[in-house]
């Protein structure tokens, strides 16, 4: 019953996108990152986290990646496309920064590759964090209307759908 209530609270809670954006901007400033592509693996390692590229077996092969509090590290599925691996690392880094306590608890959920589940507020915040870390507005402003979506994807080292989402959010295109 208590677990059901907490699930309901999670679903109803509003994501704090401003905090996600602020934390991503703070990281970029802290590491003096001023141009793309942003390497989230290097950022995570500079923060003292380990990042491992792993081969998973069985049903776990459908996992994109996950954060592990015991080892303070991020595991990324080796078989994932590299342009999606950057997003996975940034997303998990978002959990570490924004919701560390929860990310260490048993309530934490691993990031699935093709999940159709409704995302809770923490997942939405981590997605916003990843978008702001990998495609910050001030960098997108320089390129979004001068190069194609595919080139933006190559330049920012993120997938084409991620670029399209960001373009739609920032510029309504």
């Amino acid at each position: 019953m208590r677990k059901d209530n907490s699930l309901l609270v999670d679903q109803l809670a509003k994501p704090n996108y401003r905090r996600a954006e602020h934390e991503a901007a703070r990281l970029l400033k802290e590491f003096s990152i001023e141009s793309p592509p942003i390497n989230p693996v290097a950022i995570a390692r500079d923060m003292g986290l380990n990042v491992y590229f792993v081969k998973l077996t069985g049903p776990s092969n459908g996992i994109s990646g996950f954060y592990d509090g015991d080892e303070d590290c991020i595991f990324v599925n080796k078989e994932e496309f590299p342009l999606r691996q950057t997003w996975t690392v940034a997303h998990e880094l978002g959990h570490k920064i924004l919701h560390e306590e929860w990310a260490k608890s048993a309530d934490y959920k691993v990031l699935m590759r093709n999940s159709t589940e409704e995302k809770d507020f923490r997942e939405k915040e981590s997605d916003a964090f990843a978008a702001n870390l990998l495609m910050p507005r001030f960098m997108m402003d320089q390129y979004w209307d001068t190069i194609s979506v595919e080139e933006l994807s190559r330049l920012f080292a993120v997938s084409v759908p991620a670029v399209k989402n960001r373009l739609s959010f920032l510029y309504g295109v």
Partner: protein, 123 residues
């Protein structure tokens, strides 16, 4: 019941610190950035070249032209001074007076240009 994270950790077969494909993607992004930067510079250079025109190409752009003109005037002034002094050395009194006056003008021109250059250098 084990969490999905514990299950995932148990199913790890191999763990690597690096991923060559990801490194390649990131370095491709950097290459593209440099290429775009190069194109932007080339475009700027082309526009600047267009803006300069024939005279601009000779005397320089908005920033460099005053300095280049001052250096040319300094050189002209020095040539006038030296030439006038040589001319004055071999002539009669009237010629000496004439060339002396030209040397003074040349000196005024050269020193004016030198003051301008010194002022620019101090900025």
């Amino acid at each position: 019941m084990a969490s999905d994270r514990e299950n995932a950790k148990r199913s790890i077969q191999q763990r690597d610190a690096e991923d060559a494909e990801l490194d390649a993607v990131l370095s491709e992004g950097t290459d593209l950035k440099l290429k775009l930067l190069q194109e932007t510079h080339r475009h700027k250079e082309h526009m600047l070249d267009k803006e300069l025109g024939h005279i601009g190409r000779f005397i320089g752009g908005r920033e460099a032209a005053p300095f280049n003109i001052a250096v040319s005037l300094l050189a002209c002034g020095v040539i006038v001074v030296v030439g006038s002094l040589f001319a004055a050395a071999g002539g009669n009194a009237a010629d000496k007076a004439f060339w002396g006056e030209q040397a003074q003008r040349g000196f005024a021109l050269a020193s004016g240009a030198a003051v301008f250059i010194a002022g620019r250098a101090r900025r």
